[in-house]
């Protein structure tokens, strides 16, 4: 993947994203449409606030009793003949799944959308074992054809226009070019239907697991999750340890809130409740079912009192759509299967040190916290992770830069008491700093302000005319 959008580090990748006007147009387009849907469903669902606080409370209860719930879920599923494998890390999960597929003599594996399998890097492992891996969510299928990772957890191909996809299908399948979503979808349906019928193993993620009944819930719109979990003889579900909820009666609090925040629907088209493999006499459904429960850094998050609430996340993707940073740089820049605000807080734990810079990719504007259906205080966790990152590692120049920034902020606080003085300094600064500025930003300020720009750029002051300024002061 030489020309992959994932190459380079986060800062290079985000600059590439930030410079891509076309990408921003597409993201703006998609996220604006999403926000309209969301605003609409929220006004016509007066119970939203109450439901979302119930959802939060159930997650608090579930995570506080996670050990017991995992045991109960496992016992129930094993009783009905589902094999349960607990994986401490990504390697263990991957090896187990490859092993199951190999024992089944699998040639083709079909997958429903699952961020957890992206997290463990499953596809390359299966391919290396000589199997064909087919992503069957339309968005995932499209990005897989481009040999790209998904750029959004709900809408994987959000960075592509219908024209991009039309050209892709034309190029890969030799079909006449068309930008019409209906025709493109029909083409994918025909190809994937064949894929499903000839698949030996199906893999999906899990949205919720009910401990009381030993049931996995897979939520989707297309039917590919249903297909992946009923057509092949072997079905493997993969989930993080935090997905367990206590009871069947908890489910209503989550499903509507998830559908509304993720896609603006009242309920997703298909909600699959899967409690085990095929039973005697049934002509469809998997003969063999496996559940992989993945830790991979989650129990460490649980042990950290600030990080803990990140485990309440139901992966609705709403925080991505409202995030000004995500909307500017796109999902690929994060170089993690979990992009956006939620990605910035979970990736350092689930993906590792390569994503340590992500908590800094935020303006702390708080839009994510505002929109979160389970009310995760993402800005607080971002600050916590920044603090951890800068204090636990040897960060050259950091203490000096921080001291300089603090002194600068203190000085500014004193000046800011006098609006006239601020305006005057702004006018002076605009002239004095001009030689140091490029496109409105000062990369390196002259002494004695050099410490300020050691870790950030400084905007070239743009003094407004006094009349406008006074109106705002009033």
């Amino acid at each position: 993947m030489a020309a992959s959008p994932n190459s380079g580090n986060f800062f290079e990748a985000s600059e590439r994203g930030a410079a891509d006007r076309e990408l921003q147009r597409k993201l703006e387009n998609a996220s604006t449409r999403h926000l309209e849907h969301f605003a609409h469903t929220r006004t016509e669902f007066p119970a939203y606030e109450a439901e979302s606080s119930q959802a939060r409370r159930i997650k608090e209860e579930a995570i506080a009793h996670l050990d017991e719930l995992i045991v109960e879920l496992t016992r129930k599923l094993e009783e009905r003949g589902c094999a349960v494998f607990a994986a401490a890390c990504a390697d263990e999960a991957r090896d187990y799944i490859v092993d199951v597929a190999r024992k089944a003599g699998a040639r083709r594996v079909v997958k429903g959308k699952s961020m957890t399998t992206e997290e463990i890097g499953l596809n390359p492992a299966l391919e290396q074992a000589g199997m064909e891996v087919l992503e069957t969510d339309l968005g995932e299928y499209i990005v897989q054809l481009r040999r790209e990772p998904p750029s959004h957890i709900i809408t994987p191909a959000i960075h592509l226009s219908k024209e991009d996809i039309g050209e892709l299908f034309h190029e890969k399948f030799g079909v006449p070019y068309t930008p019409e979503p209906e025709k493109l979808t029909a083409e994918a349906r025909a190809r994937l239907r064949e894929g499903f019928l000839g698949a030996d193993v199906g893999i999906t993620g899990v949205n919720f697991a009910i401990a009381e009944t030993g049931t996995l819930i897979v939520v989707e719109n297309e039917g590919n999750g249903r297909m992946s979990s009923t057509m092949p003889d072997v079905f493997i579900a993969v989930m993080g340890i935090e997905k367990v909820i206590p009871r069947l009666s908890d489910v209503p609090h989550f499903l509507e809130v998830l559908a509304r925040t993720a896609t603006g629907q009242k309920l997703t088209t298909y909600t699959n409740f899967i409690s085990g493999p095929r039973r005697a006499g049934e002509p469809d459904g998997p003969r063999e079912m496996h559940l992989v429960i993945l830790d991979n850094g989650r129990s460490a998050m649980l042990a950290d009192p600030v990080m803990r609430e990140a485990l309440y996340c139901i992966r609705c993707g709403a925080c991505l759509n409202v995030c000004p940073v995500y909307r500017h740089i796109g999902g690929h820049a994060y170089r993690s299967p979990y992009p956006g605000p939620i990605g910035s807080i979970v990736s350092p734990n689930l993906i590792g040190p390569s994503t340590a810079a992500l908590p800094f990719a935020s303006t702390l504007c708080g839009a994510c916290k505002e929109v979160c259906p389970v009310r995760i205080d993402i800005p607080r966790i971002l600050l916590h992770l920044r603090w951890k990152e800068t204090s636990s590692r040897n960060f050259p120049g950091w203490p000096r830069a921080a001291a300089g920034a603090r002194a600068g902020a203190r000085r500014f606080a004193r000046i800011a008491r006098y609006p006239g003085l601020v305006r005057m300094l702004g006018r002076i600064g605009a002239i004095a700093l001009r030689p140091f500025a490029r496109r409105g930003w000062v990369r390196r300020m002259p002494a004695p302000f050099a410490n300020w720009t050691r870790i950030r750029d400084f905007p070239l002051p743009r003094p407004r005319r006094a009349k406008n300024a006074e109106r705002e002061d009033a």
Binding site: K26, A64, R80, I142, P156, E222, G223, T230, P283, L302
Partner: protein, 242 residues
């Protein structure tokens, strides 16, 4: 399993320090909305189903069902139809009416009323035919199934699967027709899950179906019929004595 125990132990250690903090008591079950009258629930269900691209037909009397399905099959241009066992309705009649109308009928198993037979002999008999079943099902134009329950507020059909009512019925054929008794329409999701209950969820695969299969993966534009049915018709039945 040793691995599971290790992870559970790790989780327990992580939890040890904060288990006693407040707010970790069980959350009370979602209260099901009070049931409105049947006609109101049926019309709300119909409106919501239509909002997600499905269609609601009826309410009709039970004896009108066979004629209604035949008319629908003609309208949708179906040459072959698969049928499962009914829940509260007699789909055998429907099968005969379809055959009489010259439409090829595929029965998932001999359709009989009464509880599901769980005999291993039948299971063994089914075994080699699995792929054949899939392949045949994939070529069928439409399928008729009966829902166990429905949700008015979202236009959702709840379908439990078993040997005589396989999940593929509402998944593989491009035209999906679902029969529903009016007394099985619940006001909301909480009411529907309460009616189905934990035992049925453990014993069967449960699928909540809200409209035809759809996607919004290309520029967030909605397209119907990705992997599942392209159309969904729900026929609501209102028995006279009710």
């Amino acid at each position: 399993m040793a691995d599971l125990q290790a992870i559970v132990a790790r989780v327990r250690d992580a939890l040890a320090s904060w288990r006693d903090t407040p707010n970790h008591n069980p959350v009370p079950a979602a209260a099901a909305a009070p049931g409105g009258n049947r006609a109101e629930l049926a019309s709300l269900f119909a409106r919501e189903l239509e909002a997600v691209g499905g269609r609601a037909i009826g309410p009709i009397a039970p004896e009108e069902l066979a004629g209604c399905v035949v008319a629908l099959a003609r309208e949708r241009g179906l040459k072959s139809v698969a049928l499962g066992r009914g829940v509260a309705s007699d789909l055998d009649n429907v099968a005969q009416a379809l055959e009489a109308a010259g439409i090829e009928v595929m029965r998932t198993r001999p359709i009989a009323a009464g509880p599901v037979a769980q005999d291993p002999a039948a299971a063994a008999e089914n075994k080699p035919g699995k792929n054949e079943f899939k392949a045949r099902m994939a070529l069928i134009d439409g399928a008729v199934a009966e829902a166990d329950c429905a949700i008015a507020s979202t236009g959702t059909l709840a379908v439990l699967s078993d040997a005589d009512r396989p999940s593929s019925l509402t998944l593989l054929p491009p035209v999906s027709i679902v029969v529903l008794r009016i007394d099985r329409i619940k006001p909301d999701l909480a009411g529907a899950l309460e009616a189905i209950g934990p035992d049925a969820v453990q014993a069967h695969r449960l699928t909540l179906i809200t409209g035809p299969s759809r996607t919004a993966d290309i520029e967030k534009r909605i397209v119907m019929g990705v992997h599942g049915p392209k159309s969904l018709d729900a026929i609501v039945i209102w028995p006279r004595d009710d």
